[in-house]
């Protein structure tokens, strides 16, 4: 292939972020807005993961029998992966709170259209 995997996945991440921002700004339905916001979070996580990727590398798990030098040179960079674990959970909990508020608002106002219930 012409472009390498890391670059391609960075582009995918940016595309997800752009799609998400587009949805959050332009779509009127609140559920769809929230779906767009979920995509922004996914995109940023993917971006972080692609940063730790190493072309031709191995998974960052140190097995017995590996030489330390060889492992250090070939393993992917694990720090971003550790961060993404936290970030996924934060994103999911934020989504849950937002959807909860949307349900309450639907019970109060009978609509899930942003222009109707989140206007002035």
């Amino acid at each position: 292939m012409i472009i390498d995997v890391q670059l391609a996945s960075l582009f995918t991440a940016v595309a997800l972020i752009v799609i998400g921002i587009f949805a959050a700004v332009f779509l009127d339905n609140l559920i769809k807005k929230v779906i767009g916001l979920a995509f922004i979070g996914d995109g940023v996580n993917l971006f972080l993961i692609s940063m730790g990727y190493k072309a031709g590398g191995i998974v960052y798990i140190y097995l017995p029998g590996m030489a330390a030098d060889w492992f250090a040179q070939n393993a992917a960079y694990p720090l971003p992966f550790a961060l993404v674990l936290t970030s996924i959970v934060i994103g999911a909990s934020t989504m849950a709170v937002m959807l909860g508020i949307i349900i309450v608002l639907y019970k109060k106002r009978g609509s899930i259209s942003a222009s109707k219930i989140l206007g002035e």
Binding site: I21, A24, A114, G119
Partner: protein
């Protein structure tokens, strides 16, 4: 018709389209204060352009002064722009994001 009545009339004209809150003495004077504060502080802030170039500063101050005087009741428009609807807030958020990124990306490379 004195100046105060003119101002009240102008504010009434603008408010007629929007909310129906009565135009009182206090709201008129607040609007007037906000207007003067806005214009004067922007003009004073523009003087800081002298660090870039003095000619630019003079031109900018004159242009902004002229623009502010012609479009005089600025504050009602500003207030209408900064309303609580999600769409307008979101619009400004995205605009701000674009401005910040562009400024940083181009501003630092080319200054």
């Amino acid at each position: 018709m004195n100046l105060y009545d003119l101002i009240v009339k102008k504010i009434k004209d603008i408010q007629a389209a929007g909310d129906e809150s009565p135009v009182t003495n206090i709201s008129t004077s607040s609007m007037l204060t906000a207007e003067i504060t806005l214009v004067s502080s922007i003009l004073v802030a523009l003087i800081m352009l002298r660090l870039v170039s003095k000619v630019l500063m003079i031109v900018a101050v004159l242009v902004v002064l002229f623009a502010a005087l012609t479009a005089m009741p600025l504050m009602p428009k500003f207030k209408k722009e900064q309303n609580d609807s999600l769409a307008s807030m979101m619009f400004y958020v995205v605009i701000a994001l674009a401005i910040v990124i562009t400024l940083f990306y181009w501003g630092n490379l080319n200054v």
